[in-house]
């Protein structure tokens, strides 16, 4: 994980993004405990309020949950939930942008579909 104070992305958002990426990649498996606010604060020299604000975004999104006296844990279904969100964002944003760019460049629908086929190569 890396946190950059000189970014336009707020630090608490960077914390939330880092943990989201960790859950998505399986680095933080479902049901497992994630590092405490104090651990993250200390390790990366971040103000604890910043870390807490980032973690609270994940709590609000239902990706992690607090267990009293134990700490924070990745919820069941968190990874699937994130994958579904990313897929829907992929269709609505990246595919739309791809089609838009293709139109601007005069790439035909058939050529674009053929290029995608080629992109899959041997699969």
């Amino acid at each position: 994980m890396h946190f950059d104070a000189n970014s336009v992305i707020p630090l608490y958002q960077q914390v939330a993004d880092a943990f989201t990426a960790g859950i998505l990649s399986g680095a933080f498996p479902e049901g497992d405990q994630i590092p405490s606010t104090t651990e993250v604060s200390r390790q990366y020299q971040l103000n604890p309020a910043t870390v807490l604000k980032g973690m609270n975004q994940l709590v609000a999104a239902g990706l992690i949950e607090k267990r009293r006296g134990l700490g924070m844990f990745v919820t069941t279904g968190a990874q699937a939930k994130l994958k579904a969100q990313r897929q829907s964002a992929f269709y609505s944003e990246q595919v739309a942008a791809l089609v838009q760019t293709a139109k601007e460049l005069g790439v035909s629908k058939a050529d674009l579909l053929a290029a995608i086929e080629r992109g899959y190569g041997h699969e």
């Binding site: 000189n6 630090l11 104090t38 604060s41 200390r42 390790q43 020299q45 971040l46 103000n47 309020a49």
Partner: protein, 288 residues
């Protein structure tokens, strides 16, 4: 939850007016950065809070009571700066013991941990230690006394990079365990940028920035591009400072317009150190 309030504090040394009316508030359980150019009065301000020098005018209070000659209040304030609190021909462990007697408590477990982490030889006299180790001993005392307000004036003086990182981590660890107020006056701005939650900038004898660190990061921007394009885009915007190189202008602002910037103009994040330099740049021109 106690707080320290500084109102219209001035300080004159002979003919030189260093502080010209400082207003700031130190709330409970925050980590503050106190930034300012050399000689701007940061150390003086911290010394005044700790009753080691008197303000020429204005007031410094904790929960409404003046901090001046107030032993009860001063027992809750600890200032670590370049002047050693106790005789330097005494050993490190003597210093720890004396701090315990003076402040009515000392986190022995934390001290033992820090002595080990920083490899401090407690049997040595303070004067026998290198600059870095003198600083480490002073930091250990600052982190172990039971005070509510810890003022750190140049806390990493002489510390090498691994020891500085270790110190920042230990500070956050003890802060999490026992939340209290820290004020860090330092010139190593980049190193504390993610650690503090609030920033004060002292310039021209007054506080020119008094903002949450998050707000500074969210709003501070560098806007650069051809001079005319930047000027037009920022026509209605307060500008903190700007630099010009040929036709290229870079302006620093906390209030970028909501309208998107024209193609020729780039808006990028402004880091704390750049902001600080931008804010205090004209110091040189009006220095006596």
């Amino acid at each position: 939850m106690s707080e320290i309030t500084i109102k219209q504090v001035t300080k004159r040394y002979g003919a030189k007016q260093v502080l010209k009316g400082v207003d700031l508030n130190l709330a409970a359980e925050h980590i503050y950065a106190l930034l300012g150019r050399n000689g701007v009065g940061k150390s003086t301000l911290l010394r005044m809070i700790n009753n080691r020098t008197l303000a020429t005018s204005g007031s410094i209070t904790m929960d409404g009571q003046s901090v001046v000659d107030n032993e009860t209040i001063q027992n809750r304030v600890y200032l670590m700066n370049d002047s050693p609190l106790y005789p330097i021909d005494k050993t490190v462990s003597w210093h720890f013991h004396t701090a315990k007697l003076m402040f009515g408590g000392f986190d022995e477990a934390l001290a033992a941990h820090l002595v080990k982490a920083f490899h401090v030889d407690q049997t040595r006299q303070l004067r026998q230690l290198s600059t870095g180790f003198k600083t480490i001993v002073k930091l250990i005392i600052a982190l172990c006394v039971p005070c509510d307000f810890i003022l750190l004036d140049e806390p990493v003086l002489g510390l090498d990079a691994p020891n500085r990182e270790q110190f920042y981590q230990e500070l956050l660890a003890t802060y999490a365990q026992r939340p209290r107020t820290f004020v860090i006056a330092t010139h190593l701005i980049e190193e504390i940028a993610t650690l503090v939650d609030h920033v004060f900038v002292l310039a021209h004898g007054v506080v020119t920035i008094d903002e949450a660190a998050e707000t500074l990061q969210a709003r501070g921007r560098a806007v650069s591009g051809p001079h005319q394009a930047v000027a037009t885009y920022l026509a209605e915007t307060p500008i903190l400072s700007q630099t010009t190189m040929g036709q290229l202008t870079t302006a620093y602002t906390m209030n970028v317009p909501a309208t998107p910037a024209p193609a020729a103009v780039q808006v990028t994040a402004l880091n704390l150190q750049q902001l600080f330099i931008a804010l205090t740049r004209e110091d040189e021109s009006d220095a006596v």
